[in-house]
Amino acid sequence: MYRYDAIDKEFLTDRSNEFRHQVGRRLAGELSEDQFKPLRLMNGLYLQLHAYMLRVCIPYGTLNVAQVRRLAWIARTYDKGYGHFTTRQNIQFHWVKLRDAPDILDALAEVDLHAIQTSGNCIRNTTSDPRAGATAEEIDDPRVWSEAIRQWSTLHPEFSYLPRKFKIAVTASAKDRTAARVHDIGLALCRGRDGTLGFEVMVGGGMGRTPFIGQTIKEFLPATRLLSYLEAVLRVYNRAGRRDNIYKARIKILVSSLGAEEFGRQVEEEWAQIDAARADLPDTELARIRAAFIQPGLEVLPPVSDSYEAARAANLALARFARNNVSAHKAPGYAIVDVSLKAHDATPGDANSDQLEAIADLAERFSLGDIRVTHEQNLVLPHVKQSDLPALFEGLVAVGLATPNINLVSDIIACPGLDYCALANARAIPVAQSIAQRFLDADRAELVGELKIKISGCINACGHHHVGHIGILGVDKKGEEYYQLTLGGSGAEDASIGKILGPGLNADQVAPAVDRLVEVYLAERQGEERFLDTYRRIGMTPFKEAVYVDAH
């Protein structure tokens, strides 16, 4: 894991002091709310419906034990005892007071955490594969490059007042767990013909009211040239991106209006003029960062643990958990464990202080102190010995974190919605809960298999509904909450934008509609097809007829 040295720590101290000073000036009336707003946003502080919300950055979704314990303490001390993990692998606290914010930032800085650039029109937290360093699938460890981007983008002077927010994801294997194709820049690690490491660079993906799948503007960027190329992309965007209309200011609109080819040409032209020796990281620094991610403490184990196999055979609940939440690790005898934050009665992505502390304890005992956050609002314990899985499972059960539903119908992404957010048109959390409730039968959920449902409470699409296999968008129709369903979206390597199923439904009709969609799938599927595959094969009509049968 990357450890902050004295330089990183002093940087956070300076940042925290600066913000304390700014909050003081705001409270004293020296700064107007208009002047203060971008400052607080760049420190992660939003004004929501009921209170301030503080979004804490979790660089590429990686946490250590001390950090998780500190987040638990902050939730208990300054919030109502819980935090909410987000689709940018961050965590946010929804009940924060402005005057407490500087103290919270100090407490975060003590464990090398911060809220820098978790909001505002700047480069946001770079997200990456939550299985980095643990999966044999990866071409290279994406954390190395994500950390390089973290440093480069932190208070970047030229790119702190962009036309709009800017999100970068780094994916490292054929299976994309980062939704790279719906990012402003998606970077996919790859190997060139001669074996050198590089990136496929995709730009202009995004969601919101005009969703786009990112387009490849460079098939192979040598990895060592990453920062100069990012500088070129950001510079072209900073100069040419629209600033007259907030809804047309993302890079996706620029790429779409210029065409990916012309945008790529402008980037190449700019890139050619950048002094690589100044802009790119020296090999020594890349090696220093890489060394920080070498995983110590992995033992040489037999590939199969007999005690685990026996426990799994004897305990059906453990067996179900293993089927859905446990994956292969690159090291023999180890496993990657997904911890679901999607219990049927929970708010998707929420964890309370007790749960956070339990996760920290379990990670300390069983996962080499390493905890990851996924963009699907779950957690991962990446380095668990198979022989420890039964004990870990029991530990998770004890705090309600053993829900065996990863990638299943109830593993739903949902934004905070109208329960918290000032922008929302409709609630998202109760809809997610109603669907989870409807699919409580775990056997049936497993029979249905992978089904990604994503719910947004408004067109800003924080719940990624455009790329849900089933997407659900909350809209306001004459003061009433309605939900528009879309089918066929994907945020993974087979990315696509979902298409609208039909007229909006009221809140009570959503879960039954999902049920009918699932029944059509179960009746029509062939072989190993997922819901998404069946939809892509048979099209919208059978699904639409099933949901709107009563309307005829």
Partner: protein, 168 residues
């Protein structure tokens, strides 16, 4: 006359602004140092530069600073405009003036110039400021110099964290 803050490695000082900003279409005052628009310097450049006064040019966010390339050696300053502090295009203009066009003269921030942006402005190579918030030189200096470390190379030439001797 408006206050001008000059910022160097030794800190910030307040000086009198000797330049007059000339609005397009209005006559140029006799004998005064002037700042004119990009359009005007393109149209009347030779006459203005031959008049014996110091000449600066103001670049608006949508204008390409590269258009000044040939004139730069003869300019006393380039003013980069911030119509709103949120408009970050001038950061690229200033960066390119320093890094690409090799301009060593004064780069001046004008418009909605606030202390909260002193740090990023300074890092992009801007070294003179007409603050819109009444900041003193001392306040400006504090804001601009707040961070002991920087993470990336920029037009100010500061050593980034990765090149600091203490990096571990």
């Amino acid at each position: 006359m408006s206050t001008l803050i000059k910022y160097t490695a030794n800190g910030a000082t307040e000086i009198e602004n000797a330049f007059v900003s000339v609005v397009d279409g209005e006559p140029v005052p006799q004998g005064a140092d002037i700042i004119v628009s990009l359009g005007r310097i393109k149209a009347e450049g030779e006459a203005l530069l031959a008049s014996g006064v110091r000449v600066g040019v103001q670049i608006e966010p949508a204008e390409a600073v590269e258009d000044l390339a040939e004139l730069l050696p003869r300019l006393a300053l380039v003013a980069v405009a911030f119509p709103k502090f949120r408009d970050g295009r001038a950061y690229t203009s200033a960066t390119l003036l320093r890094q690409r066009l090799g301009f060593n003269g004064e780069v001046r921030a004008v418009g909605d110039v606030l202390r909260e942006q002193a740090y990023v402005m300074t890092r992009c190579g801007i070294d003179a400021f007409v603050p819109a918030d009444g900041s003193s030189a001392a306040e400006w200096s504090r804001a601009a110099g707040h961070f002991r470390h920087v993470y990336q190379t920029a037009a100010d030439g500061r050593t980034p964290a990765h090149a600091e001797p203490g990096r571990r």
